[in-house]
Symmetry: C2
Subunit: 156 residues, 2 copies
């Protein structure tokens, strides 16, 4: 069955063009700043952040993957690199011997904290400070709505 999807009108096209343009520019900009100033990719930054924010000092790979909006293979690779650089440590989980626990090392926490101000400054300069409070609220609603669709699309 081919349910004939309607073309986009001008209003829809404008939104779509703005959106696609944004996400071909924004990730690159974030990666550039973090890489240049802190030697971290944005995703590495997110992983370290989620680890630090966790109430429990150690997290399972699956939980960390979920928290950092990623996949297990991707997380596994990046944890391998981060471990080599001494920023995280992995240890087998005693309760479930299939599982792996990850935790932030002292070096990892230090590097993360060092990198935060520059990252926040960039996020403010490029996005947050450019928007009005009403736009911030609107953006939250919009992204939450879209993200709901995206997450249910992830696992068919």
């Amino acid at each position: 069955m081919k349910p004939r999807v309607p073309r986009m009108n001008d209003q829809e096209s404008a939104a779509w063009l703005g959106l696609t343009t944004m996400f071909s520019l924004l990730p690159v900009a974030l990666d550039r700043q973090l890489q240049r100033d802190s030697g971290l990719t944005h995703f590495e930054f997110v992983v370290l952040s989620r680890l630090q924010l966790s109430p429990d000092p150690t997290m399972r790979m699956t939980a960390l993957a979920e928290a950092s909006v990623s996949t297990l293979p991707r997380l596994s690779h990046v944890c391998g690199r981060l471990e080599k650089r001494g920023l995280v440590e992995r240890s087998p989980c005693p309760e479930d011997r299939r599982a792996t626990n990850v935790r932030l090392t002292t070096d990892g926490r230090r590097e993360l904290i060092r990198s935060i101000p520059g990252h926040i400054a960039t996020a403010r300069r490029l996005v947050i400070d450019a928007l009005t409070p009403e736009q911030l609220d609107a953006l939250t609603d919009i992204t939450n709505t879209i993200n709901a669709r995206l997450t249910e699309d992830r696992t068919p």
Copy 2:
């Protein structure tokens, strides 16, 4: 000088989290659908689209790079692949012998047109149809504002 950037408040954090979550999910989703159904990456799709939309049947690399929100190296690589697959053709520009002209082949146009309905359907399902008209307008404003900052940030 270190002008002490303020932390984010709850409103700002919510918007930022929503945004970062979205652009770690959306590009993957678009690539997946296009790759599966049409053997194209989203960026390849954009390149072909811009070529087809051009009033002139042929475009300079620089113009195409700008239109597809990309860089010259990236575009050069992807044009190489697309040319190998017979979807585009490159020829030296007669007026400026440094320049290269790209144009869509018949096969390229056909493949593009084949791929459009599925792509639009995905864009609708994941984004457009999830939003109200007011949200679409808001999204256009927001992304245009951010994109302005991003583009001026690109070339310091």
